[in-house]
Amino acid sequence: MVKNIIDVRNLSKSFETSSKEPSLKGTIKHFFRRKTKSLKVIKNISFEIKEGEIVGFLGANGAGKTTILKMLCGLIYPSEGRIVVSGYLPYKRKNNFLKNITLIMGQKQQLIWDLPPIESFYLNASIYELDKFEAKKRIKKLSDMLEIHDELFIPVRKLSLGQRMKSELLAALIHEPNILFLDEPTLGLDINAQRNLRKFLQKYNEETNATICMTSHYMKDITSLCKRVICVHNGSISYDGDLDLLIKKLSPIKEILIVCRSEEDATKIENSVFTVKNKIKNEITIEVENASIASSLKTILNNFNIEDLFINEPPVDEIIGKILIKKDYEI
């Protein structure tokens, strides 16, 4: 049986914030008497993550995903509740715990800006107490996996964003952590770089059985890597479970794109019983419930003069977009 590597119970986090009214009067008032209030950004959440799992945290901006990751890796203290990661209380930041984890934040860098990445790699290797031989071996292995070689010897400031991100990954993984916390790892990367990074993470997970917790606003990251998602809404968990199941549940329809022989034929379909999503000249897209796909196709083929036909799933982005704005999903 696979053991739980992350165990979170009734976790909450509050931050003190101050608010200021606009205008000069508000500014002066704010200067003399600052109004502060406690804002509960994470509200009593509980979940478990098994060793080797890849879990995606979904939620709108400010929902609390990053705060959860920061608490899991020990960067910030929880206000209430209990977190155990790999047998440790993360906020105590014991060296043995820190040697087991890594946190990668898109666009935030730990590489030394004016030096080639290789210098930062050796520095990190020494911080994690790897000897030179072991460090060299791991740099070679990871650079092969990430397909970066010459770039290791060019100052970081001269690297492209994609090359920098790969180098950041290498620096963050040199100690071969068991648990990876990734906060928007593909932020700002082009499509090819995003794809390569996903491939790398998949491979790393397969080869090392590392547990990966990630947030991303690029749905492709989530759909191609995460079997399980935890949806966060206003600091609470609105859904925790299988991504495919969620998509099926939330998307009980399919879209059929029909290419008619003429615009009149498309108009005939538009005026029939189907729910039309859009119509452009002789092309019309209708929405059909999953259960009635066969009968709808039969009706279309028998009654209308069509040239071609495509059945599509609605875009995952649209479905997940719905998740971000709703509170509860019961499956």
Partner: protein, 264 residues
């Protein structure tokens, strides 16, 4: 084995930070030049024969200010500013989840910077001796060793004071403004503008209870060969370190609980 790995860690940390500092060699040269305040002060003192009031010869005074310049070069600390910037930009976060206190990085940066500064400081000293040949002297080995040690202890005191201030970033974003408050007493009471011996007696008795005279005045007097209480000076330096270190540890441990990982 573990000892070797720790040595390797320290060596790599210094090596990488030194490589980084070499990227800023022009900046560091300018910083070294900007530290010539003691020479201006020497000029003011000698032109106005102020040395006579404190019974120090002109030669000894010029040696004192040269040594003050050297001590300052190797005890300059800016960790409060670096930490504040890194904290606001979210750069501290990755360091906090590594098995090494981030202040070791800053410490290594300072040491690396001092190594980079060294040749520039020597060049400035060379020019100083060209214009003041009567001030040339060679301190004996014991004095040189003790002076280096006291300069290092002065650096440690300043590093700890600024690290404590830097930790206040966990409560207030602009902790460096507190450092600026300390700048004035450091400037006047450390011996950078005038040897502490020149202060009135009742003021001196108070000044010697603060850490300031042990930052510049004590090591500079030691190196220049002026009369100074060696054991008392070292005793006070060690006492201040013993007071400051636990305070730093306490503030660090309380501060990290307050950390909100701003900017990341």
């Amino acid at each position: 084995m573990r000892f070797n790995l720790i040595n390797h860690k320290i060596f790599t940390l210094l090596k990488v930070q030194y490589s980084n500092m070499l990227e800023y060699r022009v900046e560091i040269a300018l910083w070294a030049i900007s530290g010539i305040i003691p020479f201006f002060m020497l000029n003011i003192w000698t032109n106005n024969n102020l040395n006579e009031s404190i019974s120090i010869s002109e030669v000894m005074l010029s040696r004192y200010f040269l040594c003050a310049f050297f001590v300052r070069q190797f005890s300059v600390v800016w960790v409060a500013f670096s930490f504040e910037e890194d904290s606001l930009m979210g750069k501290v976060s990755p360091y906090l989840i590594q098995p090494l206190n981030p202040f070791f990085r800053y410490f290594a940066q300072h040491i690396a910077e001092q190594i980079t500064r060294f040749p520039f400081a020597l060049i400035i000293a060379f020019f100083f001796f060209i214009f003041n040949p009567e001030s040339i002297w060679i301190p004996n080995f014991d004095i040189l060793f003790l002076s280096i040690l006291s300069t290092f202890l002065s650096f440690l005191i300043q590093f700890l004071i600024q690290s404590i201030i830097a930790c206040l970033c966990f409560w207030t974003e602009k902790a460096s403004s507190i450092e600026r408050l300390l700048f004035i007493p450091t400037l006047f009471l450390s011996g950078l503008l005038a040897p502490v011996v020149s202060f009135p007696n009742y003021v001196k008795s108070w000044i010697y209870l603060t850490p300031f005279p042990y930052l510049i005045d004590f090591p500079a007097n030691l190196l220049s060969g002026n009369e100074t209480n060696i054991s008392g000076g070292f005793g006070m330096q060690i006492l201040w370190l013993l007071l400051l270190f636990p305070l730093f540890k306490k503030i660090w441990s309380e501060g990290t609980k307050k950390y909100t990982a701003m900017g990341s």
